[in-house]
Symmetry: C2
Subunit: 350 residues, 2 copies
């Protein structure tokens, strides 16, 4: 199993990435790593973490980097030799079975969409993010890849999310909810109302509309949204979580007694923080891409890099993409049949 | 100043509402209250809180109630004699200067839109919700009144929000942000990209796109969104806040030592909860309505009812609606001029 890893991605590259790769080589003997990045800048860290001449490691030189501040199009229009673009090409040519990057999400999306393309039957790839609920986690899809979508896109996201959720959380036929503004069927905007009808037909366990509060209580295991609303959902959760951290800090600095109490609570607060952490997930799979691509958080730690590599390996082994193709095919057949029947019924009426 | 109050609205009506009204009568000698609701059901509580023959209190009988589980259209199609519909009619006929309800938001919106109508120049009323930031608060508009909007609607929400924010938080020319999926001007969906251009022209302090996380850090004081996205933002914040409460509960019940620590932290956690509480606000103003209407939370306490009545009184005194009319007029003049100039330039080119 050969996994290409973008050594230059993320805020602490390449040191943090190489450290994660070194740990992955040690932990997973079945995995070969292709490090993609500026070979000169990587060399020091390869020595430092003792993997400079590791038999299961190779380095592919990519002279440039798409910086976090640059636009998404940079990966395909400007820097065509960036670590992201080179990584995507390795995935396309099957020299790599998967590509892991803790880098620029937008640039990775743009490059993989153009170079790797989507799976048969899939119109748009979607970003699947794992998020914490009261107990366990749920999968948000699309977390921000597509700001404008059709109802059919949402149906595809739902099917792909359902397959990925089965694999990721080991759940059978997970509950799929549509992010909307009210629990009733009739609530929502034009897009979600149309999507609702398709989701009812789709080969998934559709539980209807779900709201931004009830999803945390466990209303569904897959939350379907367009990339705009999904991204707002993701960022708002992050913002509120950071607010609580900030408020707790203020409250526990109010007076000396509180400060001492705060010290006693450190372990408890650390557990609270762990609940929201994405480190254990490592990254988000780009659902629907014709190849396994995991995008990690820009501030990924070595542990997150290790887990992203593990996740990539598991996605290959489990055959996530084959199952997606199969179920997307079923979705389209069901919808086509439904449309055909509807047309006949309409003609009969006339 | 006569304020109509929906005695039947909210989860604990009419007891909680009457208690809040009794306190308001005591605290604000300049306010007259018109209680709207089932007179038979209210009578007991009027006696209980000692205001049965209060000189500044009158009761208007409304035989039915729109239950929280009923659809929004009930207030205008089904129960035309409900406390919400009767309250809206009092506002329309100017028998009341304001209407306060802790009841059904959707039903109130539907009834007031049809009966009270919007201010001159305003196309759609919007729900303005006050939310907690790291320090201070910010105003979200629209928090859920309009699931489908035009860019021009968003520009009107921004102007109305700016005026209301000046009044509510005592800020001059508050920073107005557009809820989107990236800080850069170019980010967003078709709707926000078009709205962005109008907001740049609008007579407000527009600071550009704002994301769901940075708004809590203080990126803006007025957050503009369509009602669908705004409602997702509101509910997601609520959901995440409840999650933290839940997680803290689990963490502090893990073992006896933790449970004792939890007891010591009670006061601190109460302060944390206060940060997110909407009790002090009392309710959300329906911006752009041709009359002052405050919608409270369904689970309003007597304190929240009191504060909603106070807020209604202040909105009347400050003349929020006059200022909105004035500034909306300026908005439309600016946009019209801009469009005219653009048309001339385009014709010149031909």
């Amino acid at each position: 199993m050969r996994i290409a890893v973008d050594a230059m991605g993320g805020d602490y590259a390449p040191g943090v990435v190489v450290e994660g790769v070194a740990n992955a080589l040690y932990e997973y003997p079945e995995i070969e790593i292709i490090l993609v990045g500026h070979s000169g800048k990587i060399a020091y860290y390869l020595e430092k973490y003792g993997i400079a001449s590791h038999p299961r490691l190779s380095v592919v030189h990519a002279p440039t980097v798409v910086e976090m501040s640059e636009s998404s199009a940079t990966s395909i229009r400007g820097k065509k030799d960036s670590s992201i673009t080179v990584g995507a090409k390795l995935l396309k040519s099957k020299e790599a079975d998967a590509f892991v990057t803790p880098g620029h999400t937008g640039a990775t999306l743009a490059a993989t969409k153009v170079i790797v393309r989507t799976l048969p039957g899939v119109n748009r790839p979607a970003l699947a993010a794992s998020m914490p609920a009261y107990s366990g986690r749920f999968l948000l899809t699309d977390a921000g890849a597509n700001v404008e979508v059709t109802p059919m896109n949402l149906a595809e996201f739902a099917v792909m999310g359902s397959v990925y959720c089965e694999f990721l959380y080991g759940l059978e036929n997970p509950a799929v909810g549509l992010l909307s503004v009210g629990g009733e069927d009739s609530k929502g905007n034009d897009l979600t109302k149309e999507a609702f009808k398709l989701l009812e037909l789709a080969p998934i366990n559709f539980v209807g509309n779900v709201e931004g509060n009830t999803v945390f209580e466990g209303a569904c295991k897959v939350l379907v949204a367009d990339g705009f609303t999904g991204n707002v959902f993701l960022k708002t959760s992050e913002g509120l979580a950071n607010s609580v951290k900030y408020w707790l800090n203020v409250i526990y600095r109010k007076n000396p007694v509180r400060m001492i109490m705060g010290l006693f609570n450190k372990r408890a607060f650390k557990e609270l923080k762990e609940n929201g952490s994405s480190e254990a997930q490592g990254g988000a799979l780009l659902l629907g891409l014709n190849g396994v691509c995991i995008v990690g958080h820009g501030s990924s730690t070595p542990r997150a890099v290790l887990n992203a590599i593990r996740l990539a390996g598991e996605c290959i082994k489990f055959g996530v993409n084959d199952r997606i193709v199969e179920k997307i095919d079923r979705l389209h057949k069901i919808i086509d049949e439904y449309e055909a029947k509807k047309n006949i019924a309409e003609q009969d009426e006339k």
